[in-house]
Symmetry: C2
């Protein structure tokens, strides 16, 4: 299934000479994502519309080559890597926001739109697109849909899937389809839209997206709370959720995350704090004032050392600085990161935190945890040098132990990063044989020759 010279010539005819390349230095730019995994594709193509993609996929079926769609390559599970070679479709030329419909609170956009660009554009009309993966400053809507991305706002507003009304997409066999609706409701036929969202680029190439928007909340209030240890912090989280309070974000950082950021950047984090929460509430001015106060009281009741409510947007930004600095700061501990994305029922958070601390002691590995506590969604990272095979083995065993424990607690091995290639070996731990067989059959009816994004999920 390598790309022949003659197939590449035909692709050139479809997209134009300027929009495709086989130069090794170009291929290298599209060989990786946010995992450390790398594989050179045979060619890179920059399509500008659905019809070009349809032609390429028809050709792929005729001439047997793989096609791998790709946004900004910020995926966490290797979903956009051409692990068996093939043609990488870089979607970033299809980056138009086609309409922002202020009357019906919808937007139509192409998949290459950077998520933050959409945030900013709709904000001009006082509208709000809640999904906000941490990568939103550079990740694309198409990638967000493919993985069903979440982010801090998910605790109140849900994930990407909850905002997609309809799609235009190209099937692996080259037909262009329309799914879903442009309206707030719709139940005609099977829900193809939500089958495609989260299918990790294995069932179609998304070419147009109809999104639901909501009104921008009147005010956002940001606060932070420091705790003597992660257990008290997590107990505060469960107390907030059980109180029926619905913050807009409810993020946590453990001691290792705080130290990691403090070691790398200048911060004014209190030195006796071993865990912190970053909490935002939104709504009307008096409402956010009341709720922030309630949260402050709950945090103090649960042994917070200090709580602060931001008085200015600059101060709010400074609260977020630590959280947003974790990912870049992590690499001081090792060139490689094993990044997991487990979710447990919120009341099981103390158990999982306990488990992480046990694993840390047992293995002596550097483990850093942070994430979306309000959703029970923990990003659990092991930093290491993968060339140290002994450590790597230990780390892999630790990850497997975490997955088993997560599932035993009623959780899932992937909250918002997808399965891709890095979690594929573990999928059968969560998904049963019959269910997996159904998924494979679905893949097969969409893509009988298996040309689209092979080797992912299963």
């Amino acid at each position: 299934m390598t790309l022949s010279q003659s197939s590449f010539k035909k692709i050139k005819k479809i997209v134009g000479t300027q929009a495709c390349t086989r130069k090794i230095e170009d291929l290298a730019l599209y060989a990786y994502d946010a995992t450390a995994i790398t594989h050179l594709p045979d060619a890179v193509v920059f399509p500008e519309n659905a019809s070009q993609i349809a032609s390429i996929l028809k050709l792929a079926n005729q001439e047997n080559f793989y096609v791998i769609p790709r946004g900004s390559g910020s995926g966490m599970t290797g979903g956009s890597i051409a692990i068996y070679g093939g043609v990488v479709l870089v979607m970033n030329r299809m980056n138009r926001i086609i309409t922002i419909d202020t009357k019906n609170l919808t937007a139509i956009a192409e998949p290459g739109v950077i998520t933050k660009k959409l945030h900013d554009e709709v904000a001009k009309y006082n509208l709000f697109y809640p999904p906000d993966p941490s990568s939103s400053a550079f990740s694309t809507l198409g990638g967000n849909l493919a993985e069903c991305a979440g982010g801090p706002h998910a605790v109140k507003y849900g994930v990407t899937r909850d905002y997609v009304l309809g799609l235009e997409a190209v099937l692996p066999t080259g037909e262009i389809i329309q799914t879903g609706v442009q309206t707030k409701k719709g139940v005609a036929g099977y829900d193809l839209t939500r089958l495609l969202v989260g299918s990790e680029g294995t069932l179609c190439v998304i070419t147009r997206i109809i999104l639901r928007l909501i009104a921008q909340p009147e005010t956002v209030r940001t606060m932070t709370a420091f705790f003597p240890d992660i257990k008290t912090a997590i107990t505060a989280v469960t107390a907030i959720i059980q109180q029926g309070i619905m913050p807009r974000t409810l993020e946590f950082m453990d001691q290792a995350s705080i130290n990691c950021v403090a070691d790398k950047f200048e911060t004014d984090l209190p030195t006796n704090a071993n865990a912190l929460l970053i909490i935002e509430v939104d709504g009307s001015l008096p409402q956010t004032a009341t709720v922030a106060k309630e949260i402050e009281i709950l945090c103090r009741q649960h042994h917070a050392i200090e709580t602060k409510i931001a008085r200015t947007s600059q101060e709010a930004e400074s609260f977020w600085k630590a959280r947003k600095s974790i990912s870049p700061a992590l690499f001081q501990y090792g060139p490689h990161k094993i990044n997991e994305d487990i979710v447990v029922p919120v009341n099981k958070l103390p158990d999982i935190v306990q488990k992480i601390s046990e694993l840390k002691k047992k293995t002596g590995l550097t483990m850093v945890s942070f994430g979306h506590a309000g959703d029970g969604n923990i990003h659990f990272n092991i930093m290491l040098d993968k060339r140290d095979k002994k450590k790597l083995k230990k780390a892999e065993k630790a990850v497997e132990e975490m997955f088993d424990y997560t599932l035993a607690l009623g959780g899932t091995i992937s909250g918002e990063h997808g399965i891709g290639i890095t979690k594929a070996p573990f999928l059968t731990k969560e998904i049963g044989k019959v269910e997996l067989a159904l998924m494979k059959k679905i893949k097969n009816i969409f893509d009988p020759k298996g040309v689209l994004n092979p080797g992912k999920i299963f």
Copy 2:
């Protein structure tokens, strides 16, 4: 594909003699739904667990008979009618609420639970399950999931699909599967959960449901606004939505609905009102007070004759009385109802209202419209005696014209009632050939012998 005596004997063994019947007087009770369509099944079975259903479906595949799952039979499109005979599975013995998890805000329930029962039970813990189809006092969760039911709350809170986290279901081939998660997030593998929700009992029999709950809003404020005509009422609706106000319900009734209710029941509706809105807002006490006031002002700016904010829950209930009386009151105008469930983008509501008024004039038929204006979701009813073939033909032509116009406005032919059998002839107007072929292939991998709920959707 009729049920043989020997197959029925085997079913008896599976569920016990008391839990199945072939008596004609029993069959008649499960031969209809909320449409006027009737077909006697060959047998009626009352299973009590997933394993019995699995055995029946395995038998159906071996001995070639149809199986049709059924909740309370309140469906609007004939989804639960045994149009080709077969065994009706009445799910109402599987009616346990298994857990209400106040720590993680979830519930696990069997499909035969009456929706209102769940509303009431979770309310005891100050929790809220928003989906509220008008049938909720008697319809089941299983039926709600099968159709992806909506209801007045959908304008703020979304539809059934948005609250389903995971499922246990029996495949048409008899395997029991688990889909989705028990957590707030989860993206492991394809989204089978949302493929099954809204699949109208054609892909599986749902046997257990994991639902997401939210906190009960602090207060609900109910108001009503009367308008000189439907156009001004609808303009007020679009103004409210465009203002970014998110009421909890935003219902409308046209002149015919008001008259219909006034003719049948005692009401204190103002005699010069030709359209009314029923609006609810929820949230904190001061917040609902402010928003209700804002809505009142907007309504008056859009020529409301009168607006009232309920001061007591009794008064609020009296506002709802008219809306809830429409369906029973309609039958004074004819023994049969053609009930449609179209949705258009909210800013296209004035166009669709204009179209209805034109069709009314053109055909001379009795047409009554009401519904979920905030979602652009109109229940458009034609009342007639179907034995009057000339009228029936006119009505059918009018419905088709409405569907065409709805689709031309960017709408859908089914907002929350499904396709079933009544809308199946029109599905190709909305769903393209390739998309429909995909859906049929999905049906085929789930149900290769076509034993489950045949003749629906396609």
